[in-house]
Symmetry: C2
Subunit: 684 residues, 2 copies
């Protein structure tokens, strides 16, 4: 069931416009104009009323059944009192479009606090402030001051945008280029109604078949993930996250908040089941493709492509790339196609039909029926004699595979085909790359649902001594003891209180040895000369101890060096927005310079941890690059799960293994940095 | 002057359609229909003529002035003879749309050869085969069998596409979303008229203000580069290259050729002055933005952005990224803006105006006048009361900075604004990301023109002994001697014919030493155990020599090891398509796994080599990452230039330094692999 208390806001029976105006320059005029199509009751309030207006909210509410929604077109100074008046008149929800609240600073912060107070005291639901509003085209309800919104027809994609402007950008684009809008909301400052609230409401919102979520900043990461995860079970969610580049100064002026980490936010939304996109056009293509039918869950879904022109087909195949592969169609399929198509065309996949003939529906049916086909794209340049939507419908593949049509041609012809597709429930996109984005959204969604929903693993067995370490500090030796307790392999080693103990360790351990300074207050030992590698002889050892003592060492860690291998970085920490998270990357520049890191929230399931490496651009290195040994992904995932559980359980605040080396004889942790719970210092 | 012999093809006075037909299913019918708008003479030929047709090409040619262009709508079997007949009748050019030539294999190869013979013997210019044709909307000439082409209005962007389908995709999109089409050509098989030919023709083609080049395969890399470079001096060229992913099997079926390396082709086109784009929508946005005015040349052009809505402004700023930065506007500008705008908006850049008011033209003028502004973007959601094109024109900034407008709103309003922009020469794009792509194209073009056009450096001084090495083979010691001769620093070292010489070398050189097997036939010494590092003691040395002898060494290279630093990979080789090329990357996974390599053709100028590192994703490492020493880019560029000249001069076929280490005390080559001229073996 949706949270019932958003119904007064998003599905009101009656509306009152507070601050309605006869002056076309005023917000209250634009809002009342937008509401003219609304079949429900619309009452207008102005303290100096003209004909047909009420002089107060109370009077308007008393003029018949109490309206559900009050739309505030008054300045920030008057907003809180008007909202209180509305609540007292029995109105269940308010929309506040004005700016000048928290984002403006100064006295605006007071206005925002006043609004919070009214919401807390009255229970009224409040959308805004600082939003251009919302609309439900299916209900002919346009509560937005942007004049063009009334041209939006009923569609099947809901937009939940951080910004009112982006709500409009996406909605206009869904109308012209996609599956149309079922509900469009700009969250604005989100003082009460938040993106998670609206996502929850959409679970049972019948006209909505797919959702676009636009994210600028995330007040509560876990609430957002939960809402996305619950919605994504029943309806696909497409996420557009702002902040790839540093736009924080401008963003702060807009939202009054620091931008959330783009990488972490994207990873968390993906983990919750969202399909990620990079721009507004991709968002519309993805949501449109997903709005008709989802592909069956699959770890490696296959795309089949039927194209009437080879050049665009090549662009589509290129844009799909390896992640959305085009598997060769089966021998039977190719045999059947050979009977349906002229001999010179390519028929393995893509299927290059040449100009579509009367066999086109049979070609579509044949390709859709191949077991390798999880998703089907059909592309053609428009021709008056070819009705591609009818051809696809004639193929009668309604029982299974999702199909997306791509067309290019004169704008009016493309527009006619879109309309025909929208009416018959077949997604139509324009442009080879937009078709590729649509198909990729279907395969992304199929992959996300293929990760088995196992329970997250928490509560690692932690030895009792861990609790007492905080006071002494987590030096590397204690960090590695903790890893031992978690079952993470570490090198044979001795903690040595003096040179004599170090000499004894040298005799016990296999050379070459690493000899390190032990000091919990030194996070980066290498930078202070606190690490000597390749110690083989007693001379080497004495020299090493000299160096470490010069660097300030009073205790030493003496350990056997691991053989060569692939160095990984694995860690867990508490993110300000998303709480406990784990990260995996390849050591060196891939992680440090290129930011090639896979992130998930913790605690997490083993299957989720195994899938992390698929995110890495450098994953090839983990699979046995240039004849090297492959990394044991099961063991790696175990380690990630355990570190995540450790931080999620609050045992430590942060733990990083850098490097975690994968050698032919197994994985071993070569360093360990641990920050105790509640310690403020960060390692980076 | 353009090559005069493309005038009969692309600007014919009269046209003859060979194989014209009254049957709407036939190519000859579609072509004759498309030509109905052409004001010049159109004659129709069919061997079984109906009313108004001629029975032969000779007869048609004799029926008045000889037509310039014959359009072949006959099967591949009859094409060569019809083209010969046309040439003999005095017709200067032919368009062949049919497929079934070389790409089809078998007898098609013979048909293609017959066409080549006719072209060679008669001098007729031939476009095709296997193309849907070309069009010149300004001349109302549509020589394409795609019915919708007649809806293309005259515009200012030329399309030169490898594929006829892509020519149409881009042209329809330029008409609906951009600056319209001045000339659209699909090269098809390109047996005679090639992309370079058409690019050269466009230099003086008056209606063309910008060009989109679509590349699938490149028959002659240097000819393409030359044509792009000559055209880019006078008109911006936007390049869309297919083949990021492996689509070679399908591509071969389409073009009959192996795909050119995507990375090398992109680098070469960029070097020639083209602006690179990733998909068809970006191509249209880029060419549209570039079609009105180019930005002044600048190594780091600044973008100023004026936006009426903060949310879309944030998306635009994010999409622009670091490469197309938004510099803070000057104090004077911000002061002037404070007088023009409400107090709460962000005014540093982006300039967030809120809903555009009557001060909008003054805001545009003020921002455009700031010296940090090289390119200006103006974004707004459409409103009936705001005429953004008129506002921008009213700002009267016609004397300098290029401006691009971005709008979103109801499709009909966006379309009206586009039309108004197109009529008044102001580029209009829709969507925050499309605006960002348009602005980025302007800055890319400005950066490309900022590289000083110095002469390429060739003819390195090569010692005479090099010529004699080929017979003995290029082992590492000889490779390093060659580097010494080129002035590339190498470590102190000795070539040692036996263990005694190695022991003498050990005494002469500073430890630690590297001891390596010397054998020109072993390209990857490490993989056969042919390299021992860290040799300090005589014991170490003896053990190392044992290992190398076990690996088959009869000669040794003994050298001092360099200190730690950043490892680069630098090389030069002969590319099959582009001839001599140089490559620079960061050693290890950035180059090997992530393909992060900068490429240029050789010989090259020092300035061009210096700019190469800007291409690298990992360039941060070269600038002094984490307190490390910065790489001396001047020295690096010198080395690249010399290696390039060496291969360009044919002294060697390939040379690779991997690693080239940049240490705090300088750059030094730690290995050298050389392949003599004309040797077939490749190192990879």
């Amino acid at each position: 069931m949706p949270p019932r208390d958003l119904v007064p806001l998003l599905a009101p029976r009656g509306v009152v416009v507070v601050g309605a105006s006869g002056n076309p320059e005023k917000l209250g005029y634009a809002m009342a104009s937008s509401l003219k199509t609304f079949p429900g009751d619309v009452r207008l309030v102005n303290s100096r009323p003209t004909a047909g207006m009420h002089s107060s909210i109370a009077e308007a509410a008393a003029a018949g059944g109490v309206p559900d929604l009050a739309i505030m077109c008054v300045p920030a100074t008057h907003t809180a009192s008007a909202v209180r008046e509305s609540a007292e008149a029995g109105i269940g929800a308010a929309l506040v479009c004005a700016g000048g609240f928290a984002e403006a600073g100064g006295v605006g912060v007071d206005y925002a606090r006043d609004l919070d107070t009214v919401v807390a005291e009255t229970g009224i639901r409040l959308l805004g402030p600082n939003t251009s509003g919302f609309f439900v085209p299916d209900a002919a309800l346009f509560a937005s001051f942007v004049p063009g919104v009334r041209r939006l027809g009923a569609g099947s994609v809901a937009v939940v945008a951080a910004s009112g402007g982006i709500n409009h950008v996406l909605s206009f684009r869904l109308e012209s280029d996609g599956a149309g809008v079922s509900l469009g909301v700009g969250i604005g400052a989100g003082q009460d109604v938040s993106a998670p609230d609206v996502l929850q409401y959409l679970i049972d919102h019948e006209p909505t078949r797919a959702v676009i979520l636009h994210v600028e900043t995330v007040p509560d990461g876990r609430a957002l993930m939960t809402a996305v995860a619950e919605l994504a079970v029943v309806k696909p969610v497409v996420a557009l996250v702002v902040g790839r580049n540093d736009v924080s100064e401008f963003a702060r002026s807009h939202t009054g908040a620091l931008a959330t980490s783009w990488r972490t936010t994207r990873a968390a939304l993906r983990q919750a089941g969202a399909v990620l996109v990079g721009d507004e056009a991709q968002a519309v293509a993805a949501a449109t493709a997903l709005s008709a039918r989802r592909a069956r869950a699959s770890a490696r879904p296959g795309v089949a492509l039927i194209t009437a022109q080879a050049g665009p087909g090549l662009l589509i195949a290129d844009a799909l790339g390896d992640a959305n592969h085009l598997p060769a169609l089966g021998r039977d399929t190719q045999g059947a196609l050979a009977d349906l198509l002229p001999p010179l065309t390519f028929q393995a996949n893509p299927v290059d039909t040449g100009r579509p003939s009367e066999t086109f529906p049979a070609v579509v049916r044949t390709v859709a029926a191949d077991p390798v086909t999880d998703v089907l794209g059909v592309y053609a340049i428009t021709e008056p004699v070819v009705d591609i939507v009818t051809d696809v419908l004639a193929a009668d593949i309604s029982d299974g595979i999702p199909v997306v049509i791509g067309v290019d041609g004169p704008a009016s012809e493309v527009s006619d085909i879109r309309r025909s597709g929208r009416e018959s429930g077949v997604p139509v996109l324009s442009g080879p790359n937009q078709l590729a984005h649509g198909l990729a959204a279907l395969t992304d969604d199929a992959r996300a649902r293929a990760v088995r929903p196992e329970a997250a693993i928490s509560s690692p067995v932690v030895p009792p001594w861990v609790a007492s370490v905080a006071d002494e500090g987590w030096d590397e030796a204690r960090g590695k003891d903790l890893l031992d307790a978690l079952g993470v392999p570490t090198p044979p080693r001795y903690r040595c209180a003096d040179r004599d103990e170090a000499r004894r360790a040298w005799r016990e351990l296999d050379a070459p040895l690493a000899v390190k300074l032990l000091d919990a207050s030194v996070l980066h030992k290498t930078e202070v000369g606190g690490v000597v590698l390749g110690v083989r002889t007693t001379d080497d050892l004495e020299r090493a101890l000299d160096v470490l003592e010069a660097a300030g060492a009073s205790e030493f860690l003496v350990e056997s060096m691991a053989g060569p291998g692939v160095d990984l970085v694995v860690g867990a920490r508490n993110d300000d927005v998303f709480g406990p998270i784990v990260a995996v990357g390849v050591g060196g520049i891939a992680t440090e310079v290129l930011g090639d890191v896979a992130i998930r929230t913790a605690p997490l399931a083993h299957t989720v941890a195994v899938a992390m490496t698929e995110d890495l651009v450098a994953r090839e290195l983990l699979l046995g690059h240039r004849g090297g040994a492959a990394v044991d992904l099961d063991v790696l995932a175990d380690i990630v799960v355990r570190l995540g559980a450790l931080v999620a359980d609050g045992v430590v605040d942060e733990i990083e293994i850098n490097p975690l080396r994968s050698t032919p004889s197994g994985i071993v942790a070569l360093d360990a940095i641990v920050l105790p719970a509640h310690k403020e210092v960060r390692t980076s």
